[in-house]
Symmetry: C2
Subunit: 478 residues, 2 copies
């Protein structure tokens, strides 16, 4: 809103991290609330981040041979009930449609919490032969889970996501797809969102309803809590059996195909806020920032300044940078604060003295570093800065994670380390669910994942002292 006189203050993250988070969501114009409890309005600036996320991921999915489809948003109760584990996992948290117009429906429909059942029904219909495999489908849509406690982006009753659902001739191929898509998510987070992640498997107690294996990427937020940022599931042929999906293999035998699903959501925007944000507001990674550079004329009334600022904006727009020229009446100081709040990666200032010297000033949002750049080198400097911002943001986030990651050999050690604040605990585990529960009970941290990159930091389980099987990342989770 252009008539506000000063940029509003946000709560300090050290004082109240949750309030700091909500303040950014609202004051960076990402979301608004409505009378629809537990749901959020994603405003233009927030939605533009999501559109950039979609564009990047959708391109990668398609490069890997995936095709987009659209399934109905409703699932008949009988269809949801077809896979036992699945319905047990989801039924308690779905929204039920019971009436159409003035008539009561003969069968309740739930609003999809996820679409495995619909994809399976369709696959049952269209898969006949090994020639029909693999089927590599993806869907961008919204889903509903009737959560009791909600927070913008992190947990809301409706959220936007993509859900990939694939069918393969062999278990090996399906397993490879599961891991491939986990890697796509991990690369996207590290390269594009500048968020370091741990790739790992969920423990059996924490798997997706109906899955044989669930993989996830886990990131550590500013406050030391873990965020599950995306998941990828291997289903074996469990759903295929429940839905009677078969195909004729090369020997003309009827067999079941093997299945995966994988998804990521608007929750990632919450991850960006809590990984990179600071006391001045949002800090956006350049790859998904709606505005990558804002050009601000200083002493705009002086001859040539507006023209020079316009020229800068035009030049970097021409090389594909998402740029905004702010030539409004607001003061430069107001503008600096406003675009810091909005997390714009680069601010380019130009005033009369710069003009005389044939230069401009580039300020990087994440570290407020100022660089004087010759106008002749503008395009090159902006490209280099955008890369440097991504690298700097990643390094900062990684350093934060490392400073808050504790290797522990005993439960006492966990409790001692965590007095310094929440974080990732790396500790060995025997594989027994009872130990998993006990660690959580006695320390407050639950198993986040069994990292794919294993290491032996002790020979015995952190809990029971029996021989250890796996290194596990533990943490408090969003």
């Amino acid at each position: 809103m252009s008539d506000k006189k000063m940029v509003e203050q946000i709560t300090s993250m050290d004082v109240d991290f949750a309030q700091w988070y909500t303040d950014i969501c609202l004051k960076a114009d990402l979301i608004d609330y409505s009378s629809v409890k537990g749901c959020m309005i994603i405003r233009p600036y927030g939605y533009a981040i999501w559109e950039n996320i979609q564009r990047i991921l959708d391109t990668r999915f398609k490069e890997l041979g995936h095709e987009n489809v659209y399934m109905p948003m409703f699932i008949p109760e009988s269809l949801l009930n077809k896979e036992k584990d699945h319905v047990e996992g989801f039924a308690p948290e779905v929204a039920w449609v019971t009436h159409g117009g003035s008539e009561k429906l003969t069968e309740r429909l739930c609003v999809r919490p996820t679409s495995e059942t619909l994809f399976c029904e369709h696959y049952q219909h269209i898969i006949r032969s090994y020639r029909d495999l693999p089927k590599l489908y993806n869907q961008w849509c919204s889903v509903v889970r009737w959560e009791k406690t909600t927070r913008p982006f992190l947990r809301s009753r409706e959220f936007l996501w993509q859900e990939g659902h694939t069918m393969h001739a062999t278990a090996e191929e399906a397993r490879a797809e599961t891991v491939q898509m986990l890697n796509v998510y991990a690369d996207f987070h590290e390269q594009d969102l500048a968020i370091p992640v741990v790739k790992g498997a969920k423990t059996p107690s924490d798997k997706f309803a109906g899955a044989e294996d669930t993989y996830a990427i886990e990131a550590l937020m500013h406050d030391g809590k873990a965020l599950q940022a995306a998941t990828s599931h291997y289903f074996g042929d469990g759903f295929a059996r429940a839905f009677d999906i078969t195909y004729s293999d090369k020997n003309n035998q009827l067999v079941h195909p093997f299945q995966t699903s994988w998804g990521c959501t608007t929750r990632m925007i919450g991850g960006i806020i809590m990984t990179h944000g600071d006391e001045n507001g949002l800090v956006l990674p350049p790859a998904v920032a709606p505005i990558q550079a804002v050009v601000i004329p200083v002493a705009a009334h002086k001859p040539g300044v507006i023209e020079a600022a316009t020229d800068i904006a035009d030049r970097i727009k021409a090389v594909g940078v998402r740029v905004k020229l702010d030539d409004s009446d607001n003061s430069p100081g107001w503008k600096y604060a406003e675009y810091e709040m909005k997390g714009v990666p680069l601010r380019i200032e130009i005033g009369p003295r710069d003009l005389e010297a044939g230069q401009c000033v580039i300020v990087t949002r994440h570290n407020r570093e100022k660089t004087i750049v010759a106008l002749a080198d503008l395009e090159k400097a902006v490209a280099e800065k955008l890369q440097a911002v991504r690298d700097g943001m990643y390094a900062k986030a990684l350093a934060n994670r490392e400073a808050r990651t504790y290797d522990c050999k005993t439960i006492d050690e966990i409790n001692e380390k965590l007095t310094a604040g929440d974080g990732f605990v790396r500790a060995m585990w025997c594989g027994d669910e009872a130990c998993e529960d006990k660690v959580k009970e006695e320390t407050g941290v639950g198993s986040r994942c069994v990292p794919l990159e294993q290491e032996t930091i002790s020979d015995v389980c952190v809990c029971c002292g029996r021989p250890a099987k796996q290194l596990v990342f533990w943490g408090k989770a969003y």
Copy 2:
């Protein structure tokens, strides 16, 4: 499915137009049915058409300053009830969510049939000053209307659409937006979909629930029935008053802003099928065809043929054409039929003799015209052919519409002309709703729109003989 031995036949459109339509939807792999009654699965080939539609329209919307947002999919009953006409129009056909998990909700939520009420609530929250105007928002989402009789794309309980919702300082500006967006839709249909349309206003009895004026574009299908292809509404300040939306104008007076909404849906895919399709299947306009050209090697086992076909595909892909090389084992004859069914605009054949002569053959789908093209001129020839296909498809559709548009001065004349088959009737109207009803009752055709381009073809009303006010397009509607 690559193992089918022959392309399945479809019903002739002369025998059973409705079945012909459904056959194309299914056999061109656009949709599938599911156990969710009244909803459809949009398969990859159908969804890719929608993605192309989205990309083109979204770019135009943004060029005109519109921003995308995302509103909740649910509307509390009390919010839907806020604007009297609106709720009367929509309440009979909404789906109601009554339970979340195992708990009964204290207030029913409907699944959005359209989002005016949610946008208004948000605008009430964020609009304060004339500086906040205009607000030019758009949303891509799915909506639900509990229809009794459904048909793929044309009328289904859930469909995909975009809904623009804008707020303006003055009535003039809002009216200009309404007409501007109508023109965007009309241009998109004529240029990109090759569908000629009539731009007009709906008569008062046919307006959108809550609108002051509703504009639409109307197209004529193969069978002589009319399809409303997109609408644009002017609301005046009616919703603004109902939702208490005010802003301070330049004189610091609190006044209401003026509002529009405009939308188009997956129904347009039905319009493409019924405007351009023929006895061999779908015919797609190049702008939205998932595959614009298919390259088919003939006698593919002969030396150099596959390499030449690959080279052709690579070359036209390099200039931005969506191309597929089909080097599968299926016979060329099977492939010809398959890609005709799928409506691919250009088929490029290359065999040993073509290779020797340094040429290929381009066949245009809509008229099966064959052209021999020197390989040296490939890129230029493909670009020209794609434009010629759009132009040819448009001319054909326009000729069909003109052949089926009847100027009539009396009700008897309407009945007489329509014995030759359904079509558009152009006839004068006095503006009285009773006459509108009587025309429909006695001839079967209802008013489709009052065209923006007016003409006087008679001085008196087609029904009552009193002085005529307007030329009206009449027709049977989908």
